[in-house]
């Protein structure tokens, strides 16, 4: 490397000061101005994370929020060159280092994850959408699903209540987060394990409800084909209205 060790160390000292605020000795530096760099860098990090997690920000008291952002700023080496992806690293840092336990906020990780997934779905690269017809037979035609979605499971129902209350309802919640084809808006819905199976199968390949019935019946131990068929019909009709299903194919 053409850069001297001394110059490299000076550059790292300045960057380190920005992250920690701990005093550094750098030749020629005007100490009464150095704090501006820390302030500017911190503002970028803080505002980026705050914009990504508005619900978390509103939920946590100011001192807890500032504590988490400061911990992240000081201890985490930000890896992405794209600052809008930094909130994902924030989620990983908080969840890997057990801050939810430390702050006694059991639902914290789920809420951060959910808020990040909304961004991820909103911005996920455009996928190729296969040809489909908008009219068809919901029971017998193969169904084409909107690929711009993610499935996730939560331990706390932060998608329908505040973080403190959600902590009282520990369980298993399956959430489908999707991007509407026409508007690009992101929506979500809570679904069952059976619905998760249906969505996962449709993501692999178009299937009709009739084709899916045997596997679902076997996997979930549901022998009443008629009731199961009606249930799937209603579910698929609902997600067709919501643009999660786009239409039909042969």
């Amino acid at each position: 490397m053409l850069l001297n060790t001394e110059t490299k160390t000076i550059q790292e000292k300045l960057a380190g000061y920005c992250r920690t605020g701990e005093p550094v000795e750098i030749p020629g530096v005007k100490h009464d101005r150095l704090h501006n760099y820390r302030r500017l860098v911190f503002n970028v990090i803080n505002s980026t994370i705050q914009q990504a997690y508005p619900i978390t920000r509103e939920w946590l008291p100011d001192e807890e929020w500032q504590y988490l952002v400061n911990e992240f700023f000081k201890k985490h080496d930000a890896q992405t060159p794209q600052v809008w992806k930094l909130p994902f690293e924030f989620y990983q840092f908080i969840s890997n280092n057990h801050y939810a336990d430390e702050l006694n906020k059991p639902a914290l990780n789920d809420l951060l994850w959910f808020e990040w997934l909304e961004i991820e779905v909103h911005t996920m690269p455009d996928q190729i959408i296969p040809d489909y017809r908008s009219k068809g037979n919901l029971s017998s035609d193969k169904l084409v699903i909107n690929p711009h979605l993610v499935l996730t499971k939560l331990t706390y129902p932060i998608h329908k209540m505040g973080g403190n209350e959600a902590a009282l309802h520990e369980g298993l919640y399956f959430i489908l987060i999707y991007r509407q084809k026409d508007t690009g808006n992101v929506r979500f819905m809570e679904i069952s394990a059976l619905h998760v199976f249906v969505i996962e199968e449709l993501l692999k390949s178009p299937w009709s409800i009739e084709q899916l019935l045997p596997d679902i019946s076997s996997l979930f131990g549901l022998d009443d084909y008629q009731t199961l068929s009606q249930h799937l019909f209603h579910f698929c009709s609902d997600i067709l209205d919501k643009q999660i299903l786009l239409g039909y194919t042969n």
Binding site: M1, Q11, E12, V83, T123, H148
Partner: protein
């Protein structure tokens, strides 16, 4: 050559680019990092805007002055992005944003030192070779010298001349630095390698203390910066000029007025003057 006045494309007023018939910049500029690998609503908007206006890109995370290694996977994605949007000019900052394996997402000043020049020149050459285009580097504002062994103008001049990169002359940054460090802005401009300037940035700033200005891009351009711009153009051949406004976005009419004022000054030097010569 027709004077070309552009503006930074920002999400805060993205729809104005598509719907406001009075808002007609000659070109737009955006940070590739804010749009790469993105689909959905914003990609759709970007595609429409890029279809309507010529595009330049002004990067944030290349970190050409960094002590860390160049990020080749980032450069690979960047190259594809620049090709996809047929970007005419790709510029970056003569600063660093990453050190000790951590991005900081703001522009830190590189020590004005000989080894830093050699290091940066070598990196510029690598980037230019890989991207197959000249790199255009902006003179950045800075608030304190850092272990300097030479003055700023020598540092910039050496890098531009040795690397054969181009210069993005930020006139506001020259004004800010001249104020913050007590030198003559016009003298500084005169010493810049003006024949290597690919385009010009103009922006507003904020005075946060009697002796300190921060380059915020959150205010209108002030008259002394217009005057410095006027002086600068008197020394230069025509290049595109870009208005930067990143925060505290005003009504679009105010931005239109600023672009109009830039165009009036540019036209005075570059159209009338050249017409008279011929």
């Amino acid at each position: 050559m027709k004077t070309s006045i552009g503006i930074g494309f920002r999400r805060d007023f993205a729809n104005e680019f598509l719907t406001n018939q009075k808002f007609t910049p000659d070109f737009i500029e955006f940070a590739p990092e804010n749009w790469m690998n993105m689909g959905g609503y914003w990609k759709n908007i970007l595609d429409q805007v890029a279809e309507r206006f010529p595009v330049t890109c002004h990067g944030l995370s290349l970190s050409i002055g960094s002590p860390d290694e160049l990020d080749w996977s980032f450069l690979k994605e960047l190259k594809q992005f620049l090709k996809h949007y047929q970007v005419e000019i790709y510029s970056e900052h003569l600063s660093y944003t990453k050190a000790a394996n951590a991005h900081l997402y703001d522009l830190l000043p590189v020590p004005f030192r000989l080894d830093a020049i050699n290091h940066i020149v070598n990196r510029i050459r690598q980037v230019q070779d890989y991207l197959e285009r000249p790199l255009v580097l902006e003179n950045v504002s800075y608030y304190t010298p850092v272990a300097a062994e030479m003055d700023e103008i020598t540092f910039i001049d050496e890098i531009v001349n040795q690397s054969d990169c181009h210069l993005l002359l930020d006139v506001n940054n020259v004004y800010v630095n001249a104020f913050n460090h007590g030198y003559d802005a016009r003298e500084f401009i005169r010493q810049m390698p003006l024949n290597k300037v690919a385009y010009i940035h103009m922006a507003g700033h904020e005075k946060v203390a009697p002796d300190l200005i921060i380059d915020t891009h959150g205010q209108a351009i002030i008259d002394p910066v217009y005057e410095l711009f006027d002086y600068t153009l008197s020394l230069m051949q025509p290049v595109p000029v870009l208005l930067e406004r990143d925060f505290n976005i005003p009504e679009t009419d105010a931005l239109i007025m600023e672009m109009k004022q830039l165009k009036t000054i540019a036209t005075k030097h570059w159209e009338v003057h050249h017409a008279t010569k011929h």
